[in-house]
Structure formats: C-alpha cells, structure tokens
C-alpha cells in the first residue's frame, strides 16, 4: 500500500520516506474505530433492506387478512408464515417493518439535506462575512431556537394535513439551527487562517474562497451534524406519526406502527416493542456513525 505513494522512477535507495497522505491516515483511523464500523454496518444493512424492500418483504404490506389478525411472532409461538406476526388488520408485520425502513430513511435523508442546505448557507455566510450578516443570522437562529419543534410541526401538519411530503418539508425547514450554529463557528475559525488571507491576496473571488478554501476544511463538522439531524428527523417523524399527525395510514411507518399498536400494548406488547426496537437500532446506528466520524476526522486539521 505504501509503495504506491512513492515515485517509482527513483532508485529505491534514494527514496525519501514520505508520510501517509491525509486520505491514507483517515482510512487507518476509520478501520480502527469500532463504533463507526458498527454504525456504518447496521446503517448499510438497513439501507439495503429499504432499497430492496419489494424483493425482501414476504407479503404485501398493505394486504389485509381479517381472518388472521394479531398472529404472534414466531418467537412467541407463531408460525413462519408471518415471522413477526400480524397487526390488528392482519397485515404482515415483517413486511410493514421492511417498507417502514424506506419511510424512515427517506425522511432522515431528505429532511437533513433540506435543513443542511439552509443551515450551511446561513452559517457559512454569517461566519465569513460577519458584521450585519452575522447579526441577522444569529437573530434568526435565536428565533428558531425559541420555537418548540414538535409544537410548530404539529401546528403546521394540523393545518396542511399530514402526509409524507408535508412531514419531510416541515422537518427540513425546522431542523437547520444546529447546522447554522456549527457551520458559523467552524467558518469563523477557518477564515482567520493564513491560507484564506493568502487566497484573498491572490485575488480569488469570494465564492472560490468559500468553496475551495473554507468548505473542505469544515466538511467534517458538516458530516457529523448531518448524521445527528438525520437521527433527529427520524425520531420526530415517529413522534408525529405516533400523535397521528405525521405519516397517514395505511403507509407503513415505524412511528405509525407504534401508534397503532398502543391500544393493544398491555396484551400484545410486541406490537409496540418490535417497531420501537428497530427505531432504536436505526437511531443508535446513525449516532454511532456520527460520533465515529467526528472522532476520525477531527485530528485532521492538526499537522
């Protein structure tokens, strides 16, 4: 591996020992970080399940069978016909879980992307330009932080009507605060470096400086916030769906499954526990990945 790094035309005896490139060192740290590997592994499996849901699901997640309602899962005495049992309408629980992964991941990815674009643009602008821009952005962040997310989301969904699209857009427009705060602080830190001053002295345009001098140096922080906000959005979708104002039935969503199972919770606790456990595993995996990415990329700036 290290040989590829050296100039092959030079006599081996004259070769100077060249330190690893930042990319190589990063790879070394990634494979030495257990939490990151577990997080990425679990997330990869869930992503695979979500993408290939039609091929993996044993039944149609919408097909009702009123004759076989509330069948217990296989580990509670059920049959392999429905490995995780059926719900109160006789729909196959495993198939609904598999399709539910699509909803959760889609909400996580799209909502985090929308809020990431908004928050990063605001934060970087505030950090780079300072002065009035910074004052305005800081004010907006404070306004946003003063609003309770769940309450605002509930109100908007109550007015607009609950649907997957509305939930995604509402969450995307509400979760940009951490992006803005973190990106602003990182930009403030990076813009004082001499290489930014050097780029300005060279005559580089502001977009070029932001894009090629500042962004690569704050990207690691961005990635960490993206993962945290993905987990945040997924949990909020579950909360909204549980309250009946998120994704509407019969769409299979993990939050909705918990909500639908809560009436029978005392007698058939697995109806709540299975989607709850999967939700827990997904959020844990994303958080492990975020923490791992932070650990792995943070020392890169130091020489």
């Amino acid at each position: 591996m290290t040989m590829t790094n050296l100039d092959q035309t030079v006599d081996p005896l004259l070769q100077e020992i060249v330190g690893p490139t930042p990319g190589q060192r990063l790879r070394g740290r990634v494979f030495g970080h257990m939490g990151l590997l577990i997080g990425v592994g679990v997330l990869g499996v869930l992503l695979f399940i979500a993408i290939f849901a039609p091929l993996l699901a044993p039944h149609d997640p919408y097909a009702q069978a009123l004759m076989s309602r509330m069948k217990p899962p296989v580990f509670l005495g059920g049959t392999w016909e429905h490995p995780l049992g059926t719900d109160h309408l006789g729909r196959d629980y495993l198939s609904r879980l598999i399709y539910g992964a699509r909803v959760s991941l889609m909400i996580g990815v799209i909502a985090a992307t929308i809020s990431g674009v908004i928050g990063t643009a605001m934060g970087v602008a505030a950090g780079y330009f300072g002065g009035r821009v910074d004052t305005v952005v800081t004010f907006l962040i404070n306004v946003r932080l003063a609003m309770p997310v769940v309450l605002v989301a509930l109100a908007v969904v109550a007015v607009m009507g609950g649907s997957l699209q509305v939930v995604i857009v509402v969450l995307g427009l509400l979760l940009w605060d951490r992006f803005a705060v973190v990106m602003r602080a990182s930009t403030l830190q990076v813009r004082r470096r001499d290489y930014v001053t050097a780029a300005r002295a060279i005559g580089a345009s502001t977009p070029r400086i932001i894009w090629s001098e500042i962004m690569p140096n704050i990207a690691n922080n961005l990635i960490v916030v993206v993962t945290l906000e993905m987990a945040h959005a997924i949990l909020l979708e579950a909360v909204l769906s549980f309250l009946g104002l998120g994704v509407q039935p019969p769409t299979p969503s993990w939050g909705l499954m918990v909500s639908e199972g809560k009436n029978m919770m005392l007698f058939e606790p697995w109806l709540v526990m299975i989607p709850g456990a999967v939700l827990f595993v997904l959020v844990l995996a994303i958080n492990l990945m975020g923490d791992g990415l932070r650990d792995v990329t943070a020392p890169e700036d130091r020489s």
Binding site: V10, V18, P20, P22, D194, Y195, A198, A201
Partner: protein, 326 residues
C-alpha cells in the same frame, strides 16, 4: 533605476473602531499612524518593532486586504485604490509567518501553487503544470512533492511552498511577514538565503517585517523602526546598527540576546509594558518608556526630521527644539 518608487505610502493611517462592552461607545484604535515610506526597485526594507505595533496591519493595507482610513498607497506611482484586486495581486504577494497555517491542509502542493495561475486564468492546464514545476525547482523542492499534502512536509519545506505560491505569478513586490520566526533556527538561514537569491534572480523588492534584528541586518538594505503605529526612525542598515538615533531603536538593539551565557539578560531601560494603543500617551508616544524623556516630550509630539542620516522622529534630534530648550 527609475525615479518613481515601486511602492510608496503617503500618510497612511488605519484606524479601527473598538467597541468596549455591550453599550460602550466605540473608541478608535490607530493601528497605523501617518506612515510615509518609499521603496525603490530592488530595495529590501526591514520593518521592525514590538508585537502589536502595527506591522501586520501595514502589511494588510499594502496587500489591499484592508483599505487605509486615510492616506494613499501608490504602486508604480498609481494609487492602489484605483487598481482592481487582480491587477494588484499580480504585483504584490505575501509570504506569511506560519507555514502551518498558510497552506490549505486539504489541498495538494500542486493545487496550492497553481491557485494564483488558476485565479488569474493564466495559460492552460499543461502550461500551468509546467510553471508550477519550474517554480518548485526555483525554491529548491523536488518535483515529487507535487502530489503531497502540507501535513506530509516539514516547516521549511512548507515555507518554500508558500514562497513558490507567492512567486509563481512573478510579482514585483513581496511582503514577507516574519517569514522565518515560526521555523527552526537551522532552517531559518536556508529560507533567508533563498529569499536573498530570489531577490537577485527576479529583481524583487521586499518589505521585510520582522522583530528579529539579526535577520533584518542580514537581508535588508534599509530599516524602518515602528512604534505604536508610527515610523520613529528610518535609515540604512549600516546607520541603524552602528549608531541608532532614536532612543527606542537604541533599546531595541540592546535587547538582542547574545549567545554568551555569562552575560545577563540585557537591560533595555524600556521598563514598563507596551502602552495601550486605544489610549496612547500624550506628546511623544514613547515618552513613558524613554530613558531620555524631558518635560517637552510629555506635551509635544516630535516631528519627523529628515537629514543625511535618515529620518528620525525625536526631540533629541530636532535642531529647532534643541535650540529652544537650550
């Protein structure tokens, strides 16, 4: 040599407004105060002074990164304000103090050095690569470092990369802001010799900012001593090091440590700390620390006296003042 200096500063002043507390009225901080300097082609002007005396602010003004509050900067006799940033960048380039901070850690060396060429749209990809290889050779780095990242290189190598980036556009003036103070002593001399060689090879003009007097003596042709934003003495290297005239220059020269361990830490008579630039002393800015201060120094600011031996701003060397007090 032509009559027009390549770089000229006329009464340049840079004032910042410093807010004190949430509701405090902003107070002016004069970082650069009425500085007039001239650099002829091929000159090396050493600019020395304590930390916080305005050296780096002056460098920023020269690079066009900060607009002077008043006064003008002229490049080849033309006012800097009238030139666009790209034209200015072709003529004046900086070399920074800390090569660990002046190179983007996420970029390869070839991209760092080629950035000025890309920004100015010089040539195509192939000619740019050729130019980068040439300048790398000039600063004494092997071509194999092209694909390295800054973190794979030593401080001296990084500073060579920074020099290559500054010179790749063939500027006329290079502002060196303490280019050696972050480096090991063994590497400092290499970089200084390189800067000296490059000046002869490309006919460069340097403004060399430093608080290391030995470095200035080695490289500069002229020296300007700065105190609290003002140039208090400007003369040739020989004059300053043989017979400094301003009491502050004398103290600076005394402060140089000798390698002889039997000698004590030098007594500079500077005593008290550097004054607060937001609230500068009355009269001569230097009088509270000056061993030769008189009553007059507390009330009246000295004027700049220009004579055969250079410029000095001190009542002691002002003949008119000397006569009235006598």
């Amino acid at each position: 040599m032509t009559d027009t200096p390549v770089l000229e500063l006329r009464n340049v002043t840079k004032t910042y407004k410093i807010k004190q507390g949430l509701f405090g009225t902003p107070k002016p901080l004069t970082a650069v105060n009425d500085v007039t300097l001239k650099l002829n082609k091929g000159d090396v002007l050493g600019l020395v002074g304590e930390s916080g005396c305005g050296k780096s602010t002056l460098a920023k003004v020269l690079l066009g990164l900060e607009a002077p509050t008043s006064g003008e900067v002229l490049v080849d006799g033309k006012a800097l304000g009238g030139q666009d940033r790209l034209a200015l960048a072709r003529r004046i380039q900086p070399i920074f103090q800390d090569p660990y901070s002046s190179l983007n850690p996420r970029k390869r060396i070839q991209d760092i050095i080629a950035l000025p060429l890309r920004v100015h749209g010089v040539g195509n990809e192939a000619s740019r690569e050729k130019a980068v290889r040439e300048i790398l050779d000039v600063v004494g780095l092997p071509a194999r470092v092209l694909t390295n990242y800054p973190s794979q290189m030593s401080g001296g190598q990084r500073q060579r990369v920074a020099i290559a980036r500054a010179l790749v556009m063939k500027p006329e003036i290079v502002i060196c802001d303490e280019p050696t103070s972050a480096l090991d002593v063994s590497v400092q001399s290499q970089i200084l010799n390189l800067l000296g060689d490059l000046r002869r090879e490309f006919g460069l003009t340097y403004l060399f900012i430093s608080h290391n007097l030995a470095v200035v003596e080695h490289l500069a042709t002229e020296v300007a001593v700065m105190y609290l934003g003002r140039i208090v003495e400007k003369t040739t290297v020989a004059n300053l090091f043989d017979a400094p005239r301003h009491p502050y220059s004398q103290a600076l020269l005394k402060s140089v440590l000798t390698p002889d361990p039997s000698m004590d830490v030098p007594e500079t008579h500077l005593g008290m700390a550097y004054p607060n630039p937001i609230d500068p002393p009355s009269g001569c800015y230097f009088h509270p620390r000056c061993p030769a201060a008189t009553k007059l120094c507390e009330t009246r600011a000295p004027r700049a006296v220009q004579d055969a031996k250079g410029l000095v701003e001190c009542h002691l060397h002002d003949e008119d003042v000397a006569m009235t007090t006598a």
